[in-house]
C-alpha cells in the first residue's frame, strides 16, 4: 500500500512538472506581479536599486528584498528580460525544498519510502503546485528556510549545533530573510529552539545574527536614501482581513488534515515525552505566522512554510510509527502511571506494527485524495479527468480542476497556458507597442515584450497610498496630459485617485481575455471628452 501512495505522489509530481514546463513557455505575466519581479531583476542587473521614489517618473518601486532577483542577474545578462528563468529557479527551489524535507526525514528515521513521500507530499500540495513555478520569490524563501532548519537540526545526541552548522544555518536564515520578509518567523523559531537548548549561546549568536542582518539593512537604507526602509517596512503594513485568514486556515486544514494530525501528534509527543526538536518549534511558529495570509495582497502562499514543516514533521511521525519507535522513557515522571499503557503496547507490538503498515499508507492516500488537482484538457490529462469524473473548477475560463475550492486570498491559477493565451498576450503587447508613448499597464509583461519602459507598480503604489506615504499628484498630471498611449487594466489595483483620473481621461476601448482574465484596454479621450466614469 505504501507503493500505491508513492505512485499517487509521483503522479502529482508529473502534473507539477508539466505545469512548470507550460509556464516556462509562456512569455507574459501568469500571476499578477511576476513582471514587476522581472523588472526588479533587470534593474539590479543594471546596477540600479528597485527601491526608489515612486512619486516621480516612472512611478516605480519594489516592496521585496533583493536576494531572489540578485540570483537571477546572470540570466538577465545572458537572456535579457524573460520569464522562464525566474520560473525555472522558483521551480528548482521547490525541488530542493522537497529534497531537503525527504533528507531530514531519512536522517531522522532511515525510512526511504516515507522520506520520498514527505518530499513529494510537499510538491503535491495545491498551494505549492500553483505558486512553485512562478516568477516569485516566495518559494525560494521557503527553500532557504527549510535548508536552514535542516542544517541547524542537530543529531539527537548533540544538545547544540556545532559552530559550522550554526554559521551555515544562520547564513541560510539570513538568505531567507533577504529573499522575503516573511521568513522572520522561521528566524524566530530557530532562535527560540536555540534558546531552549542554551540561552547563553543563543543570545550570543543572536546578537551576531542581528548585527549582520542589521548591517546589511543599514547599508541598503543608506544606498537608497531611505527608500528601502519605506518600501520594505512602512509600505507593507496593509489592511488585515481576519475572515480571509480564518477561511484560509480552514482550507489549509481541510487539504492537509492527515499530515497536520500526524505532525501535531509528534509535536505533542516531543513536548510531553522527549525533547522539542527544531522541527516542532518551526512548525508551530510557521503555522502561527500563516495568520498573515489575512493581509491585503497576501494569500494561500503564506502557508507554504507551514506546509513544508508539516510534511517534515508528519514524515518523521509516519516513519517512526512504521518502525515502532514511539516510546515512553523509563525515567518519565508519568512512567508509573502509564505502566499499563506501556505493557499493553509492548504486548501487542506485532499487531500494532501491522496496523501501522495499513494506516500510514491510508493517511497518505487520504492526503492524495484531498489535494486532487489537475488540468482537465490536453493529452493524458483529459482522459484522467474523465476517468476520475472531474471537470474544470473554473468553467470556461480555463481547464483546471482544483479540490481546494475558492476562498478570498486563494490564487485562482493552476491551468497550463494555451497558444490562445500566448496569442492574446501578443495582441495586448502590439497595442502597447503602438506609438512612442509608454503604456500604463497593471502588468509589466506587455511593456517588456513591446520593449517599452515599465511605468508604475500599481500594488505598491496602493500600499504606499493606503499608508499615507504616496502623493499621486505627478502620476495624475501625467494621466490627465495623456502621457500614456493606453492603460491596461486587469484588476484596477491603482490607488483610488489614480483610478479616478484614468476614468476621466481615458475610455475603455476593448477587452482581451488571457489566462481567463479580462484585460481592459483604455485609450485617451479625444477632443477633451470626458471618460465613461466607470468605477
Amino acid at each position: 500500500m505504501l507503493g500505491l501512495a508513492l505512485g499517487v505522489m509521483i503522479a502529482y509530481f508529473a502534473i507539477y512538472v508539466a505545469y512548470a514546463a507550460g509556464l516556462m513557455r509562456f512569455p507574459f505575466d501568469y500571476d499578477q506581479g511576476e513582471g514587476f519581479e522581472l523588472v526588479d531583476t533587470i534593474m539590479l542587473s543594471e546596477g540600479q536599486w528597485p527601491y526608489r521614489d515612486a512619486e516621480v517618473y516612472p512611478f516605480y518601486a519594489s516592496n521585496y528584498p533583493p536576494l531572489y532577483h540578485v540570483m537571477l542577474i546572470p540570466f538577465a545578462w545572458l537572456f535579457g528580460p524573460a520569464y522562464w528563468y525566474g520560473r525555472l529557479v522558483g521551480f528548482l527551489g521547490t525541488l530542493v525544498t522537497a529534497g531537503a524535507l525527504g533528507y531530514a526525514v531519512w536522517r531522522s528515521e532511515r525510512h526511504r519510502t516515507i522520506a520520498a513521500l514527505a518530499g513529494l507530499a510537499f510538491l503535491a500540495s495545491n498551494t505549492v503546485y500553483h505558486v512553485g513555478p512562478l516568477f516569485r520569490q516566495h518559494m525560494t524563501m521557503v527553500m532557504f528556510e527549510t535548508l536552514a532548519i535542516v542544517v541547524l537540526a542537530s543529531a539527537p545526541e548533540r544538545p547544540f549545533p556545532t559552530r559550522r552548522r550554526l554559521i551555515v544555518g544562520l547564513a541560510l536564515l539570513l538568505a531567507a530573510g533577504y529573499t522575503k520578509q516573511l521568513a522572520l518567523a522561521t528566524c524566530v523559531a530557530a532562535f527560540v529552539w536555540l534558546f531552549l537548548r542554551s540561552p547563553r549561546r543563543a543570545l550570543a549568536w543572536g546578537v551576531l545574527f542581528a548585527a549582520v542582518a542589521g548591517g546589511l539593512f543599514a547599508w541598503i537604507h543608506l544606498a537608497t536614501d531611505g527608500q528601502w526602509t519605506l518600501h520594505i517596512i512602512a509600505a507593507n503594513v496593509n489592511e488585515f482581513m481576519a475572515q480571509q485568514a480564518i477561511d484560509l486556515y480552514r482550507q489549509w486544514f481541510r487539504l492537509h488534515a492527515p499530515l497536520i494530525l500526524l505532525a501535531a501528534l509528534l509535536a505533542l509527543y516531543e513536548v510531553y515525552f522527549t525533547r522539542l526538536s527544531i522541527y516542532s518549534v518551526w512548525w508551530v511558529l510557521a503555522v502561527a505566522n500563516s495568520a498573515l495570509s489575512g493581509k491585503w495582497g497576501a494569500g494561500d502562499s503564506y502557508f507554504a512554510t507551514a506546509i513544508a514543516a508539516t510534511c517534515l514533521l508528519s514524515g518523521i511521525a509516519a516513519a517512526r510509527t512504521l518502525r515502532g519507535g514511539w516510546a515512553i522513557p523509563d525515567d518519565h515522571p508519568f512512567a508509573a502511571r502509564l505502566a499499563g499503557l506501556r505493557a499493553w503496547m509492548a504486548g501487542r507490538r506485532a499487531g500494532l506494527l501491522s496496523a501501522a503498515a495499513i494506516v500510514i499508507p491510508l493517511l497518505y492516500l487520504w492526503y492524495g485524495a484531498s489535494v486532487l488537482h489537475l488540468p482537465t484538457e490536453g493529452p493524458v490529462f483529459e482522459q484522467v479527468a474523465n476517468t476520475l469524473g472531474v471537470e474544470s473548477s473554473y468553467g470556461d475560463r480555463y481547464a483546471f480542476y482544483d479540490s481546494a475550492g475558492w476562498v478570498p486570498g486563494y490564487a485562482t491559477i493552476g491551468h497550463i497556458p494555451t497558444q490562445a493565451d500566448i496569442d492574446a498576450g501578443k495582441r495586448i503587447s502590439a497595442i502597447v507597442a503602438a506609438g512612442d508613448l509608454p503604456a500604463l499597464s497593471e502588468e509589466a509583461g506587455f511593456s517588456l515584450y513591446a520593449e517599452k519602459e515599465v511605468i508604475t507598480n500599481p500594488t505598491q503604489l496602493k500600499n504606499l497610498y493606503e499608508n499615507g506615504q504616496y502623493d499621486p499628484a505627478a502620476l495624475i498630471d501625467a494621466i490627465e496630459a495623456h502621457a500614456f498611449n493606453v492603460v491596461v487594466f486587469r484588476a484596477q489595483f491603482y490607488p483610488p485617485p489614480v483610478l479616478t483620473a484614468i476614468y476621466d481621461a481615458y475610455t475603455p476601448s476593448e477587452t482581451i481575455t488571457m489566462n481567463g482574465f479580462a484585460y481592459e484596454i483604455w485609450r485617451p479621450n479625444t477632443d477633451g471628452a470626458e471618460g465613461t466614469g466607470a468605477d
Binding site: 542554551s198 481576519a242 510531553y272
Partner: protein
C-alpha cells in the same frame, strides 16, 4: 539567579511551562488593557478575542508542563 547564563544550561519542561504561563498572562493582560485604554475602538475585536484565547491556551498549556519537572525542554 545567573545559572541560566552557563554554557551547559538547558531550559527544563517546568521552566518552559513557566515561560508559557507568563507569556499567556501578559497576552491576556495586554488585550484587556487595550480595551480599557482605548474604549472607543468599537468593542472587543476579533484580534483581541484571538489574543485572549491564545493567552489562555498558553497558560493552560504551560500549566500542564509544570509536573514534568527538570526534564530538558
Amino acid at each position: 539567579m545567573w545559572r541560566w547564563l552557563d554554557n551547559d544550561f538547558t531550559l527544563t519542561k517546568r521552566q518552559l511551562g513557566g515561560l508559557l504561563i507568563a507569556a499567556g498572562t501578559l497576552a491576556v493582560v495586554a488585550m484587556l488593557a487595550a480595551e480599557v485604554l482605548d474604549a472607543d475602538s468599537g468593542g472587543f475585536g476579533l484580534v483581541q478575542r484571538a489574543g485572549t484565547a491564545f493567552g489562555i491556551l498558553s497558560v493552560l498549556f504551560g500549566w500542564t508542563l509544570l509536573p514534568l519537572g527538570d526534564r530538558p525542554a
